[in-house]
């Protein structure tokens, strides 16, 4: 299937990318159908696409892992993988930047303008003369009804501590791996996704609380929109990060990683630190301020 040419490994064709493309297409196609209320086609397609994607991940990554264990990857290939992961994380940074930008713009400019600040902001004069702005807000029409915000010093603080600890545990595990101390690595490595799942659990509780007691929902004007979009996408990333951590924990248990060769471990660790840093931004700008 594969061929080693010169110093750089060039795989000889693979069926996984086209399966991935088909899986993504079916998934997205189903999602669009579902959103437009076309059932049962929508959910059926979406879950079929998801199944294809999961099958693809096992197959594609499995193949890469087998090749890696056979030792076909040179240091140069390793560098390509590292660059790939770094630039992927950079793209994720920019994805969150778009939503943070939306938050800062809404809070710093558009809400004050709607409340009549500045010169020539006529929307307030003609439509919303009673509106005084401020933050949090659900706008001049109080869309979604009166709501309260999530107090930062409850579950969000606990979650901050959880994520910060998980960054420590993965780092201890990484040092242990580099020392070749497998016995010390495994418990710390397993502790990390457990903390990640704990985070998701607390966030789910927080969301339920927001919906049932605080009347803070996705419909709660611009505050609800930015709050759920930012924390929701972050929660999704914690979930995916936890799955990735379980995968490398399993691989570490199987003995896939050596002192020198553990790109997958480091890639997941970088990703986890990135998720952690995004959370600190959220805690500061969404919850506290």
């Amino acid at each position: 299937m594969s061929q080693q040419v010169g110093s750089y490994y060039v795989p000889h064709g693979s069926r996984w990318p086209i399966i991935a493309a088909i899986g993504l297409f079916v998934f997205m196609w189903g999602a669009a159908h579902w959103l437009d209320g076309i059932t049962p086609e929508g959910p059926v397609l979406l879950f079929s696409g998801l199944a294809i994607l999961i099958f693809m991940f096992f197959g594609w990554f499995g193949e890469v892992i087998r090749e890696s264990l056979k030792g076909v990857y040179s240091a140069q290939v390793d560098t390509s993988f590292r660059m790939g992961m770094m630039w992927f994380i950079f793209s994720e940074v920019m994805f969150f930047a778009a939503f943070f930008g939306a938050l800062f713009y809404s809070r710093g400019l558009q809400v004050p303008w709607l409340a009549g600040e500045g010169h020539g902001a006529l929307t307030n004069f003609f439509l919303f003369r009673h509106y005084t702005g401020g933050w949090p807000t659900n706008g001049p029409a109080s869309v979604g009804g009166p709501f309260e915000t999530v107090p930062p010093w409850g579950e969000p603080l606990i979650n901050t501590l959880i994520l910060l600890s998980s960054s420590v545990t993965i780092t201890i595990a990484h040092h242990a791996l580099r020392d070749g101390n497998r016995r010390r690595m495994l418990p710390w490595l397993v502790a990390t996704p457990i903390l990640g799942m704990l985070f998701v659990y607390f966030q789910a509780r927080e969301y339920m609380d927001a919906y049932t007691h605080l009347n803070l929902t996705l419909h709660s004007g611009i505050y609800g929109a930015t709050f759920f979009m930012l924390t929701g996408f972050h929660g999704l990333h914690v979930t995916l990060g936890s799955i990735m951590l379980w995968v490398i924990a399993y691989r570490a248990w199987r003995g896939h990683f050596s002192k020198e060769h553990h790109f997958a471990f480091e890639a997941v660790a970088w990703y986890w630190h990135f998720v952690d840093i995004v959370w600190l931004g959220l805690f500061l700008f969404v919850y506290i301020m």
């Binding site: 110093s7 493309a21 297409f25 997205m28 196609w29 594609w60 790939g84 994720e92 994805f95």
Partner: protein, 539 residues
């Protein structure tokens, strides 16, 4: 290197995967994937072009002739999306796939399997997007910029279009990661960063731009999605939101995006002009730094697309001055191209003709861009046909001509045969005349007050619209010559192109035989003096 690598390569030439499925669906070879990108781009160029022909036919004279206004709006919207994401960008990625490994002495792209995924997402994404034409309510029709609140009134097709854009974003990000990793990690020993061909430099910077902006576009359209389907209020003033939020986020993507489409074309032109002027590129390093400056500035000028929305005066001034600044590095580039030609022993084969036309016509587009960048003037030009004329000069006679330059320049290397010079020249002259007949009168229409995105217009605009439509039909038909020439070259030409196709060409891609074997530089080439186009730079 040539003897060693050439024999090595020949031995592997039989290595081409057998069968359609293995060769194309499972492809990991950068040349095969590059070819697929270029073919997809050509197909989409004609899909988008067909829409343009219907648009121009409708505008041939005042009154409604052919299509209903709503369908007309669907066509202008999809024409934009198809040409940007389906024709220009994949064509440039196709050139990158073919040329970057050849130009830096790499065996392939850094991540070959991901390269395949980047490509194969694209046809599916366009299936998703174009299928909306046949849905109840039709495709999206609010313009390719998809401004709310208008776009939120779309029927079923909005979700499909947004997911198609997500897929294209995934494809672009993966493709860009691959290009950066290839350039930074796979250069042959001796190909230093400041010895790389300018085409490689421009793509390195473009790839960085793409990774920075495609996620932002994904964020913008995701907010549209949640506003329409999940009841959020990002763009609803009653809920404290603001439609301008969308415009800001969109143009934070949108302005760097126009440089994504032009920078690699700059790179092609910077390869072609030195070859046919038989002189090294004038001011290699300033060209690199100018490209980087343009990329940096592209992130701080986005609001010049929205001067008329009621921004604070301070913001308008900032964005106006920042926009004017871009003229400096762009001026450096145009000056250097002209200075490269100065006193060169020039010949005018088809790629050079297109390159010279590019320099002149892109500059016209750049100047009309400067006019649009001036706040008080833009109040007049905004949303008029002047804008249409401007961006078609930079995208058709800029980006598309740059791509055609690259295709004529490298096609003999890819196919092993010379294209028909006579038909290439006919294609060039018909194109360059008709494209000006097509777009130049649109400046006049815009200045006279004709708005864009309308199927019908005041009779006062009748004459120039008819001239423009005639130019459009000729330009559209002329592109069939391009296709014919490519098909002739690839399948029917009997001649054999030499390894160094052009007398004045320098660079590693000319050291391998024509056609380039399936696998090249399996072992890194040994760089000898004079082999690199910019070999005497920096040392």
């Amino acid at each position: 290197m040539s003897t060693h690598a050439a024999t090595h390569d020949d031995a592997q030439h039989d290595d081409v995967p057998k069968g359609f499925v293995h060769r194309w669906l499972f492809a990991t070879n950068h040349k095969d994937i590059g070819t697929m990108y270029l073919v997809l781009a050509l197909v989409m160029f004609f899909v988008g072009g067909t829409m343009a022909m219907v648009i121009r036919a409708e505008l041939f004279e005042p009154g409604l002739q052919l299509v209903q206004p709503y369908f007309f709006n669907e066509l202008t919207t999809l024409h934009g999306l198809v040409m940007i994401f389906g024709a220009i960008m994949p064509a440039l990625v196709g050139l990158a796939n073919w040329q970057i490994p050849l130009m830096i002495g790499a065996p392939d792209m850094a991540l070959p399997r991901m390269n395949n995924l980047s490509f194969w997402i694209m046809p599916f994404a366009f299936l998703l997007m174009l299928s909306t034409l046949f849905m109840p309510g039709g495709a999206i029709a609010g313009g390719w910029v998809m401004y709310p609140p208008l776009i939120l009134q779309t029927g079923e097709s909005l979700a499909f279009t947004i997911f198609a854009i997500h897929l294209m974003g995934i494809s672009s990000i993966m493709g860009s990661i691959n290009i950066i990793a290839t350039i930074l990690n796979l250069r042959a020993p001796g190909v230093d960063l400041l010895k790389m061909p300018l085409f490689v430099w421009t793509w390195l910077i473009t790839a960085f731009l793409l990774i920075a902006i495609m996620p932002v576009l994904a964020g913008a359209v995701t907010m549209l999605l949640t506003d329409k389907y999940f009841g959020t209020n990002f763009f609803n003033a009653a809920g404290g939101g603001d439609v301008l939020l969308y415009e800001h986020v969109f143009w934070f993507f949108g302005h760097p995006e126009v440089y994504v489409m032009i920078l690699p074309a700059f790179g092609v032109i910077s390869e072609v002009i030195p070859t046919f002027a038989r002189k090294p590129l004038f001011g290699y390093k300033p060209m690199v730094y100018a490209t980087a400056s343009i990329a940096f500035l592209s992130f701080i000028v986005w609001a010049h697309h929205m001067f008329t929305v009621g921004l604070p005066v301070g913001a308008q001034l900032f964005f106006m001055y920042a926009t004017m600044l871009i003229a400096v590095p762009t001026g450096v580039k145009v000056f250097n191209w002209v200075a490269t030609m100065w006193k060169g022993s020039m010949t005018f084969e088809t790629p050079m003709l297109f390159a010279v036309a590019f320099v002149i016509l892109f500059t016209i587009g750049g100047f009309s861009g400067l006019m649009l960048g001036l706040v008080p003037a833009d109040y007049q030009y905004h949303n008029s046909y002047f804008v249409v004329a401007h961006f078609h000069y930079v995208l058709v006679t800029g980006a598309a001509f740059g791509i055609m330059t690259g295709v004529y320049y490298w096609l003999p290397k890819w196919s092993g045969h010379m294209y028909s010079e006579r038909w290439g020249k006919i294609h060039f002259w018909l194109s360059v005349i008709s494209v000006n007949v097509l777009f130049f009168p649109q400046h006049f229409l815009g200045l006279a007050g004709m708005p864009r995105r309308i199927p019908d217009y005041n009779v006062a605009f009748a004459d120039w619209n008819m001239v423009s439509s005639i130019g459009g039909f000729v330009f559209g038909a002329t592109q069939l010559i391009f296709v014919g020439n490519i098909i002739y070259t690839v399948y029917f030409a009997k001649n054999q192109a030499p390894a160094r196709v052009w007398e004045g060409a320098h660079g590693l891609e000319w050291e391998v035989p024509s056609p380039a074997p399936h696998h090249t530089f399996s072992t890194p080439p040994e760089i000898k003096p004079g082999m690199l186009a910019h070999g005497d730079i920096a040392h």
